[in-house]
């Protein structure tokens, strides 16, 4: 046996290794990805026409309803994907794979970031497909802005992924609690961000609630970016909300990992 000197790895290397391990499940079984690509198209295809009818031409959405709605769909698939980070972890907690990885020198943050990035990986492909499909229907495409929008979602998604990871650890003895919490938080957050329907016509309390929802700022930033504006305060607000979410998520996640083996 070659005796190897202990060698340290950087956090970025750790993240890449964790991400690649997770992504291998898609690489080795690509059918799951194909299914997940169809999903947002179905949503867009069935929901979009309803919104157009609701709005009339150039009504409450201030222009094309597609331009308004599509960024929301992309935020939604980000939320669906990254809030599932912990679900995939649950299975590995039940087997010993989670503990085995905790016993390696991998940086704790890389365990969460790597997993969250794996959930975000198909998102890039999904976003590209949804956007390209929408172009013939009158969607105006600003590629660079969309790219910035994806980076924003990446930062925010890492935060959501880390929180989902922490939730899975907290619920490791009673599995259903993970789903109960994930589901009962996900939909209120989505609706109160104005992602599916505009909140301007809603009651006062909903608008107030949306102000403390970080997702609201992310959705607004995405809308600004997808319509080709970069120098909008909404974009800055979105990045602040994303960075704060990521920082809080990682802090909570690392605390959860420390307590995970107790």
């Amino acid at each position: 046996m070659t005796v190897l000197a202990p060698r340290s790895t950087g956090v970025l290397t750790d993240i890449r290794n964790v991400w690649w391990r997770e992504t291998l499940t898609i690489v080795r079984d690509p059918f799951s990805l194909i299914f997940s690509l169809v999903q947002p198209l179905v949503f867009l295809g069935l929901f979009g026409p309803l919104l157009s009818g609701l709005a009339g031409d150039g009504g409450m959405f201030g222009g094309s309803s597609l331009q308004w709605f599509l960024p929301g769909v992309i935020v939604m698939i980000t939320m669906f994907g990254t809030s599932m980070t912990g679900a995939n972890l649950q299975f590995e907690i039940m087997t010993g794979a989670f503990e085995r990885m905790l016993a390696t020198p991998l940086a704790r943050s890389s365990l969460m970031v790597g997993r969250a990035l794996k959930e975000l990986t198909p998102l890039v492909v999904q976003a590209a497909i949804v956007t390209l499909v929408a172009v013939p229907f009158g969607f105006a495409l600003y590629p660079l802005h969309v790219l910035v929008g994806l980076v924003l979602l990446g930062v925010f998604g890492v935060g959501v992924g880390a929180l989902s990871y922490a939730l899975a650890i907290a619920a490791r003895r009673t599995e259903w609690i993970f789903w109960a919490v994930q589901q009962s938080l996900l939909f209120p957050l989505l609706i109160l961000s104005g992602m599916m329907l505009p909140l301007e016509t809603g009651p006062e309390w909903m608008r107030v609630a949306s102000l403390v929802n970080p997702l609201t700022y992310v959705v607004d930033a995405e809308r600004a970016l997808f319509s080709g504006t970069l120098a909008d305060p909404a974009v800055l607000n979105g990045f602040v909300a994303a960075v704060v979410t990521a920082a809080v998520g990682l802090a909570v996640g690392i605390r959860a990992i420390r307590g995970a083996t107790a």
């Binding site: 005796v3 291998l24 080795r28 087997t95 794979a97 016993a103 390696t104 020198p105 107790a262």
Partner: protein
């Protein structure tokens, strides 16, 4: 390799504090193979998890592979291998992928990880399973894969938590063989926990018996058995002769007391010496085990050394007019040691 000082750990369970580990002092030198033996819930795994940085101690300290665990957890993890109780390999992954990535987690280059993966697949009889999904492996194969995962970075210190729990005897023997061979070839220091007596007996040179969060004995299996339990002597007599035979056995057993060691004593000098309170026939009488035998009743007592105790015993029985139908002596097991130390059998807890 390992040095601990008054290592403790308690857990809060509801409003109660459970003291899982109550102060463990331990030194393990390079190259040793040590088994932590004790019933479920004795604190073995908790101790192991503190040594591997997975669990912070409540108090006390531990040094592992030359580093303080609390101060340098990641560096300690880099230097050791840890094989937990449950399947370490992800069920949705291919065998080779998991091994390669595990090597990368420890900072091996692609080439090193690949070379070690192929070598371990070969040495652990997993050669043709590299492309298989982990979920399709048998229990024994999964366990060997776990061993490979723990060894991919060639650690000099390996921790195994209950390595063969739930395996059938054949697979267990096979697993022990693999572990012992790896140790013989690479001089790996190995610390394992087990509640199987035969596992501790077959594998470890040194047995650390842990009960209620404390080390109650720490020595080679041979010495523990010789000093803490003594040999077992069994004579079979006709049922009618049992009372007379018991009286003789009690007298001999008291004169050559079982193990001649009080429970919990740790000094080597007590071996074979007289009991502090002098011979006590009533205690010796209580310690006689009686079982049904094909042609009578089998009576068993503990003695320091069967070779010396048997001839006078047979003489006394003959003098008392008792016909001995059969006589045998048995080396003690680690269960006898545990029974002697705690008054409980390790087997009682087994399902």
């Amino acid at each position: 390799m390992i040095h601990t000082e008054a290592l403790t750990r308690h857990f809060r369970v509801g409003n109660e504090t459970v003291e899982a580990v109550r102060g463990i002092d331990l030194d393990v030198a390079a190259g040793e193979l040590v088994a932590f033996l004790g019933p479920n819930g004795a604190g073995k795994s908790t101790t192991l998890r503190m040594l591997t940085s997975l669990l912070p101690p409540s108090s006390g300290r531990a040094e592992v592979a030359g580093l303080d665990v609390a101060a340098h957890p990641a560096e300690v993890r880099r230097r050791i291998g840890y094989i937990g109780q449950k399947d370490g390999a992800g069920h949705n992954y291919r065998v080779r992928d998991e091994l390669l990535l595990q090597g990368r987690f420890y900072g091996l280059s692609r080439a090193e990880a690949a070379a070690n993966t192929e070598r371990l697949l070969h040495t652990l009889d997993l050669g043709r399973l590299g492309m298989r999904k982990v979920s399709t492996l048998s229990g024994g194969q999964k366990r060997r894969l776990d061993i490979a995962l723990g060894l991919v970075h060639s650690p000099r210190l390996l921790f195994l938590d209950e390595p063969s729990t739930g395996m059938d005897p054949q697979n267990r023997a096979n697993l022990w063989e693999h572990i012992l061979r790896i140790r013989a070839e690479h001089g790996t220091t190995i610390v394992l926990t087990t509640h199987y007596l035969d596992e501790a007996d077959a594998m470890a040179e040194r047995v650390v018996i842990i009960d209620h969060g404390l080390v109650i004995a720490d020595d080679t299996a041979e010495r523990l058995k010789a000093e803490r339990a003594g040999d077992r002597l069994t004579v079979t007599v006709a049922a009618a002769d049992v009372p007379a035979a018991r009286a003789v056995l009690a007298r001999v057993g008291a004169a050559v007391p079982a193990g001649a060691v009080a429970a919990g004593a740790t000094d080597d000098d007590s071996r074979g010496g007289p009991e502090p309170d002098g011979p006590d026939p009533s205690r010796a009488e209580r310690e006689i085990e009686e079982h049904a035998a094909p042609d009578g009743r089998a009576l068993t007592i503990g003695v320091a050394a069967a070779a010396h105790a048997l001839p006078p015993l047979l003489g006394e029985l003959r003098d008392a007019g008792i016909e001995v139908l059969a006589a045998e002596s048995r080396r003690p097991t680690l269960d006898d040691v545990f029974l002697h130390l705690t008054g409980r059998s390790l087997r009682e807890g087994e399902a």
